[in-house]
């Protein structure tokens, strides 16, 4: 096992497409790091540079103690799981898993042992003689992971391995990957655009946007303390409510819907700002305190319900626990915990936290 260290990595594709701009990142030994971002933000490119499938335009990539910029993919001691599995269609499951070891001249008995072990771990022992075509999507995904496991690499790389599976299977496989990681404790880098996958799997989430890292942190950290407006709106569902605001007095911000208190110890802000409040941080209040709000539309989600309405002039969503109360077209009052109010710079989008 090894750590991965990226320093000032850049990737420019022919035609001057800047896919990755100046990324520095440390993936600690044994950690499960998730690269999260919208489609086209350069996460696959970054992963493929670590794998050696793309050249690195500038910067250094270290795996363990070794700079691997100029080292062939096969020599980097990594294994990769692809989105569409990339199994060899003409080889049996056993041969698919054994192929990499065979090419490295591993003794037959050792190959057999490792393939059987991995197959047992992934519950695919019964399919070893089958061709990939005769397997379901989930089984193929397991074989693809088995192929990575038998290699016993320093680092596992996953490029959206679950996005070809149906919703139910995705949840199962997600748990399985988590279990596998807990068991093997291998350094893993996992690319996804799905925040739920990222939040559930990661020790460390790396949120990317337009080729840059927006924030690196534990899942709870990026959720609770988003470093930018982008992270704030990308993580959490439904997305964080954003509205313009202006700091009138210390610890209080003027919004289109009314005055909201905020934690002046956390944020140093003045003048025009962007205010962010998560739908689930908003409460309905009794009596006359709080900001008036009328729900125009209510979505029932079972455990919670989403109230859509206008906060002054800004449309917002409020998520509250389901209850018998009728909210549609009724004026209620909303309060927000000062600790749950986020402030961002209006122009740069960065968090104004000190």
């Amino acid at each position: 096992m090894a750590s991965v260290e990226l320093t000032n990595i850049k990737k420019v594709y022919p035609g001057n497409v800047e896919a990755v701009r100046d990324v520095s990142l440390t993936v600690p030994n044994g950690s499960f790091t998730v690269l999260l971002g919208p489609s086209g933000c350069g996460k696959s490119t970054l992963l493929r540079m670590i794998a050696g499938l793309e050249t690195i335009t500038s910067g250094t990539c270290k795996i363990g103690e070794r700079v691997v910029n100029e080292i062939e993919p096969a020599e980097r001691d990594i294994a990769m799981v692809f989105q569409n599995y990339a199994l060899y269609p003409h080889m049996s499951v056993y041969d698919n898993m054994a192929y990499g070891l065979k090419n490295r001249g591993t003794p037959k008995s050792e190959i057999e042992k490792r393939v059987r072990e991995a197959a047992a771990l992934l519950a695919i022992e019964d399919y070893l003689t089958r061709k990939p075509r005769a397997l379901s999507g989930g089984q193929r995904q397991r074989v693809a992971m088995g192929r990575a496991i038998v290699r016993e690499p320093q680092v596992f790389l996953f490029d959206e391995p679950l996005s070809n599976l149906d919703a139910k299977l995705r949840v199962t496989m997600r748990l399985e990957i988590k279990r596998l990681h807990n068991r093997l404790n291998a350094t893993s880098i996992f690319v996804t655009h799905d925040q739920v996958e990222a939040m559930t799997l990661a020790d460390q989430v790396v949120v990317m946007n337009a080729g840059k890292i927006e924030q690196i942190g534990a899942p709870g950290e990026v959720y609770k303390h988003p470093a930018s407006r982008f992270v704030a709106s990308f993580i959490g569902a439904p997305a964080m409510n954003l509205m313009p605001g202006r700091i009138a007095e210390a610890g209080s911000v003027e919004t289109p819907g009314g005055k909201l208190p905020f934690d002046a110890k956390r944020f140093s802000a003045s003048g025009e700002v962007e205010v962010g409040i998560r739908p689930e941080d908003i409460r309905t209040a009794d009596g006359a305190n709080g900001v008036p709000f009328k729900a125009e539309l209510v979505e029932e989600l079972g455990a919670t319900r989403l109230l859509h309405g206008n906060f002054g002039t800004t449309p917002i969503i409020v998520a509250i626990p389901a209850s018998g109360t009728q909210y549609e077209s009724k004026e209620v009052r909303l309060t927000v915990d000062p600790a749950a109010v986020h402030l961002f710079d209006r122009t740069t989008g960065r968090s104004l936290a000190r």
Partner: protein, 282 residues
């Protein structure tokens, strides 16, 4: 599928049977002719049922040859044709699969230029470049040799194009997975590209074998010795201008025999590529 009811569902069978009959009747007549004595055919009244001389005629054709201008037994011609057609088919497949592989999977300067040069040769079949090709072949002392018969026909733009299109459908991830699995370009070719191309190779082999088998113009130029003669040329040479001197029964037997190897290849390869179709999937 269109479903028919009542008598109308026999119409497809009727049409098909008619088609088969139209194609098969001349072949049948050819067979019938090859089993009658020479003079029966020569007097113009072709019988409709097989005659008594099946074994004699075919023995003579295969191992003795006609008594006309060519005295080579047809077995030699069959062998020559078979060697020529196989070498052309295998040679074309080998060369074009390798050139397609290099054009698709390697980045080198003038890669597309190389591809277009290959492509342009589509417009230069042997018939067009026959004089320079003959000159080169004779300068290299390739006359009356299998090399001379086959090499000038081997370079193939069609097959290269065909393999290129197929390689472009192999997912990039497979190349990448191979790279990570420690397979270099040669390993990837042997372990992945070749097995995946089985079906295509079988289909191409059938087409190219028949193409080689039917060659006429080039073999007639490049061979002078009777023992290098191919069967297509043999048939032509057996037909003497004076009709009465032509041993029509032998000619017809030769024609029958000339049909067999291509038919065998089609039947054998068909089993192969149906198997390939079922088993491979990208």
């Amino acid at each position: 599928m269109v479903e028919h009811r009542g008598w109308s569902r026999y119409i497809p069978y009727l049409v098909l049977s008619l088609g088969v009959a139209i194609v098969a009747f001349p072949v049948y007549l050819c067979f019938v002719g090859s089993t009658h004595p020479q003079d029966v055919i020569a007097n113009g009244n072709m019988p409709i049922t097989p005659g008594p001389l099946f074994f004699e005629t075919y023995y003579k054709t295969l191992f003795v040859g006609s008594s006309g201008s060519t005295r080579e037994p047809v077995s030699t011609m069959l062998l020559n044709s078979f060697i020529m057609a196989s070498m052309i088919a295998i040679g074309k497949i080998a060369i074009s699969i390798i050139s397609a592989y290099s054009v698709v999977y390697f980045k080198f300067p003038f890669r597309m230029a190389a591809f277009w040069l290959i492509f342009v040769t589509l417009m230069l079949p042997v018939e067009v470049r026959i004089y320079p090709t003959y000159k080169i072949a004779s300068d290299l002392h390739l006359l009356d040799s299998y090399a001379g018969l086959t090499i000038p026909l081997i370079a193939s733009a069609t097959a290269t194009l065909f393999f290129r299109q197929f390689f472009l459908t192999i997912p990039d991830e497979l190349v990448e997975a191979s790279k990570l699995d420690g397979a270099g370009p040669l390993r990837f070719f042997w372990d992945t590209v070749l097995p995946l191309s089985r079906t295509n190779i079988a289909a191409l082999f059938v087409i190219l074998f028949i193409y080689g088998w039917n060659q006429y113009l080039w073999p007639i130029l490049i061979t002078t010795r009777d023992d290098m003669q191919t069967i297509v040329i043999g048939i032509k040479k057996m037909i003497v201008t004076a009709d009465a001197l032509t041993e029509w029964n032998v000619v017809l037997a030769t024609a029958m025999l000339a049909m067999l190897p291509p038919v065998m290849v089609v039947i054998l390869m068909q089993r192969w590529f149906v198997k390939g179709l079922v088993e491979t999937e990208k």
